[in-house]
């Protein structure tokens, strides 16, 4: 793949997505909801990009569009320079290998009927790694990297036997097992307790350093985005209202919405720091 150093990982140009509410056979109602309304973004190779927005702002939809879980209505998404809208067959499978998801809810993101090994090894089977020895080795590596070690201890367990943090680590291991180039983390800690989510953030930062993966971090929490991300975009009602380097966005917010968001953050002015 011709990878010029300047080429961005993901380039989004003016994409739109609307949902129609009704899908009955006999009546087609006209109510439509615009989830994404003309978003353009560029995510560079190797960076952690934060997408911050309130619930219903379209941030999760944007992630799903990037993952090709849903199709855009207008605009263009280019992944490593190539338009993804028409991908099919082998090309789509190749895309699936390169782009992965870390989901929101660790209690729902693992199939309760599959052991941790089956879960982590499933992408390997799908992508044609036939030798079971190779699969074991790769799965073990991924679990170790995600902080579940010794991996062999976790292979036979089922999701309900793990704690929330452990499950999220298993989900991360599954996402990383194919060594993807681009990972979308969709509110990876919103269901976890504060102390646990902090460790997950640190794990994500580690993975980026050791594996060089590009990360899109979707969150409602400006503070978490600042902690983890190089650059931040703020999304509001389906539109990007502001984007830039994290420090810049937070110290010099350019839009009223971002300013309101920053002002609404809890502060501990009573503590003499």
């Amino acid at each position: 793949m011709p990878d010029t150093p300047a080429e961005p990982m993901v380039q989004i140009q003016g994409i739109k997505k609307t949902y129609s509410e009704d899908r009955s056979l006999f009546a087609r109602s006209a109510q439509a909801l615009t989830a994404i309304d003309g978003v353009s973004l560029c995510i560079e190779k190797g960076e952690v990009f934060g997408l911050v927005g309130a619930s219903g702002s379209g941030k999760t939809t944007l992630g799903r569009l990037l993952l090709k879980l849903e199709e855009i209505d207008a605009g263009q998404i280019r992944f490593q320079g190539k338009d993804i809208s028409g991908l099919k067959g082998a090309a789509l499978k190749d895309f699936r290998r390169r782009v992965q998801l870390i989901p929101q809810d660790p209690y729902q993101s693992l199939n309760p009927y599959m052991s941790i090994f089956d879960t982590v090894a499933e992408p390997l089977i799908i992508h044609g790694i036939r030798s079971s020895e190779a699969r074991r080795q790769k799965a073990a590596q991924a679990l170790d990297a995600a902080g579940l070690s010794p991996a062999a201890d976790f292979f036979p367990s089922y999701p309900h036997q793990l704690s929330g943090g452990q499950r999220q680590r298993a989900a991360i291991a599954r996402a990383m097992v194919l060594s993807p180039e681009f990972v979308i983390a969709d509110e990876p800690t919103s269901m976890l307790d504060a102390t646990i989510s902090f460790t997950i953030f640190k794990l994500l930062a580690d993975l980026r350093k050791t594996q060089g993966v590009t990360l899109l971090f979707i969150t409602h929490d400006l503070a978490a985005a600042r902690f983890l991300c190089d650059r931040i975009a703020v999304i509001y009602k389906g539109q990007i209202v502001e984007s830039g380097l994290s420090e810049q966005v937070i110290n010099n917010p350019g839009s009223d919405y971002t300013r309101a968001l920053i002002n609404a953050q809890p502060r501990f002015s009573f503590v003499n720091q």
Binding site: L69, R96, R97, Y113, E122, P123, I126, D153, R174
Partner: protein, 313 residues
């Protein structure tokens, strides 16, 4: 993150290494068996199972005990219970007790095969409708609605009149064909909620094919519900078959409890021969009750919230 020694030890114990499915099943069974409703259901069902098994024996002892063709040469009218005929005989001199035993066999056969077929149809259609969504879903569900508003008993009757005498397997097939919509509605709504769960997204992102997602990820999750519905479908199949036979549209080559009731009703013995009227009705009611009890007990083991659309049949 640090894991405690206990957590690791817990993962290593034999119990944890046992398959999750097996573990779930054993837990579920314990909960099921604790429930008096479930116990009673299993007990009743075991009784009927024994009846069905020993139904093969009497005709071997003496051909006059054959439920269809065996006629007691000394009896030409309906008679009450005696040492020779424990429940008495019908107006042709056939032994009611062996008829009753054979009826259990037919009930099991009809109930389980029709239920199994309708569960297979219902689960497949429900999964496909829920997973595919959009037009496929709408079309399949409208079709299901259409079948659901049709009174199945009367439809089968009408078909019987149009196509002539139905044999027992055609009846089974027809019952199955008219009984899947309820199952597919439930399986569909479950599939819809499963589809929202991130592990399906994870599978798609990993590049899994639709087949893989349906059979590897969705099917195991809806299977318990399908099993539950199977018990309810068994009852409904038994009832429909019995009602058909009662109205005179059963397979004339089989003896079922519905058939026995038809004979007692049509030959005008219902006021004179309670020994003939009571047993088949009690059996039909009890066998449906036993499957129903088992279903109810299973329901409490499975998540009760899954069942929003209670079914009647």
């Amino acid at each position: 993150m640090n894991f405690s020694a206990e957590t690791r030890a817990a993962c290593n114990t034999a119990a944890a290494k046992r398959s999750y499915n097996l573990q779930r099943f054993l837990d579920g069974w314990a909960l099921f068996y604790e429930n008096p409703v479930g116990k009673l259901g299993v007990f009743l069902l075991a009784c009927f199972g024994v009846m069905a098994l020993i139904s093969y024996i009497p005709p071997l002892i003496d051909p006059m005990y054959h439920p269809m063709t065996g006629v007691d040469p000394w009896i030409s009218n309906a008679t009450g219970p005696s040492a020779k005929h424990w429940l008495g005989t019908d107006n042709l001199g056939r032994d009611l007790f062996t008829q009753l035993l054979t009826g259990a066999r037919i009930a099991f056969m009809v109930g389980i095969s029709a239920a199994f077929m309708s569960i297979v149809f219902g689960t497949l259609i429900g999964m496909i409708a829920g997973y595919a969504g959009r037009v496929t879903d709408a079309a399949l569900m409208r079709f299901a609605d259409m079948i659901m508003v049709m009174p199945s008993l009367l439809v089968v009757l009408l078909l019987a009149s149009l196509f002539g005498q139905l044999n027992i397997w055609i009846i089974v097939l027809l019952i199955a064909l008219f009984r899947w919509p309820g199952v597919s509605r439930v399986i569909r709504s479950q599939t819809l909620s499963l589809k929202q769960r991130p592990f399906i997204d994870m599978a798609r992102v990993a590049g899994a094919s639709h087949m893989r997602i349906i059979f590897r990820h969705i099917l195991p999750n809806v299977l318990p519900m399908a099993c539950l519905y199977m018990t309810f479908r068994v009852t409904s199949a038994i009832i429909v078959e019995a009602a058909l036979a009662f109205l005179g549209f059963g397979d004339p080559n089989t003896v079922s409890w519905g058939m026995m009731l038809q004979w007692v009703w049509k030959t005008g013995h219902m006021f004179q021969a309670p020994y003939w009227l009571l047993p088949p009705g009690i059996c039909i009611s009890l066998i449906t009750l036993s499957f129903y009890l088992i279903g109810r007990a299973m329901e409490e083991v499975l998540d009760p919230r899954l069942r929003k659309e209670e079914n009647f049949e």
